[in-house]
Amino acid sequence: MKAGDALPPLKKRVTARMVIMGASSSRDWQPQHHDHHWAVERAGARDIFLNTPNQAGWIERYLTDWTGPRGRLGKLKFRMRRPICDGDTVVFDGTVTGVKTDDTGCMWADVDITLRVDGERATECTARIAVPERDDDNPWARDGERWTP
């Protein structure tokens, strides 16, 4: 693993079910995530759109598809530039921007992730995820001073 490595892209067709299930599974009943009329007339969006925690969940899933179950997310920051709506096709891509091992022996990958709709950036994300350097390291066993995301 090294800076410049690309993660395999992920392409998803967004449906009303995907938006609403995302809202339901994060227990977010703000109407713009399930009510078409509200989303269009009150929120000024094209349609109902993916909510914040569900986007975080998709980004986590995209990262751990790549790292496997030992990958442990340390930090996530994402900016939602435009809504991702029912009917859109969203494409995830990611690039490793840096790899380093901290003083406790934990190896971190910094990854930039972009969610695009029609080629335009909808959500931009930076993530830091612990990935074991050796077979005997388990990032999940770290806590306190040995876990410094």
């Binding site: 994060s26 227990r27 969940g57 751990t64 598809d65 179950p69 997310l73 996530l76 806590d143």
Partner: protein, 169 residues
């Protein structure tokens, strides 16, 4: 009622502790989340992997904010509680009916496990100036949220940058 800029800025530093979430972390909700994000991570599907890596089941880290969201119905409660109550109180005080999340930053600490009950402490970090975007006219504000379990362990620290606004006519 119009607040002065000084009254608005007096919200900066205000802290609120929401009561513990209405539901504890539980496996059914974790499954629903995995279903919604089509997440095949064996850590959450295969007990032997969970036992080996995390000494038993945990919730996916990004589910952190799920557990503090109130139920829409609870017997005896007059109206549903709002999650991130400080955000909604600020929207109301500023007279800005719409709100969206622009930026979400999360630092993950102790994993959340089935049975955990989460309490959040929210604090207003910053309130920006009035501005107009394609959505309407309003302000950005930043709220930090610290989540703790019933033992007081810090589970994560989230920062939300919100845009509260009124749609332009």
């Amino acid at each position: 009622m119009t607040l002065t800029e000084e009254e608005i800025q007096s919200w900066v530093g205000r802290e609120e502790i929401d009561p513990p979430g209405d539901i504890a972390c539980e496996r059914g909700y974790i499954r629903h989340w995995l279903e919604a994000t089509e997440n095949a991570n064996p850590l959450y599907w295969d007990e032997s992997v969970a036992n080996k890596l995390t000494s038993g089941a945990i919730a996916p880290p990004t589910m952190l904010s799920v557990w503090m969201r109130p139920l829409q119905f609870v017997p005896g409660r007059d109206k549903p509680r709002m999650p991130l109550s400080l955000h909604f109180a600020l929207k109301e005080a500023l007279g800005l009916p719409e709100g969206i999340v622009k930026v979400n930053e999360i630092e993950f600490r102790t994993p959340v496990r089935p049975g955990d009950v989460i309490t959040t402490t929210q604090r207003v970090r910053e309130i920006g100036e009035m501005k107009t975007s394609r959505l309407g006219t309003g302000r950005d504000w930043t709220i930090d949220v610290t989540s703790r379990n019933q033992r007081g362990d810090v589970l994560g620290i989230e920062t939300y940058v919100m845009f509260g606004y009124r749609r332009d006519q």
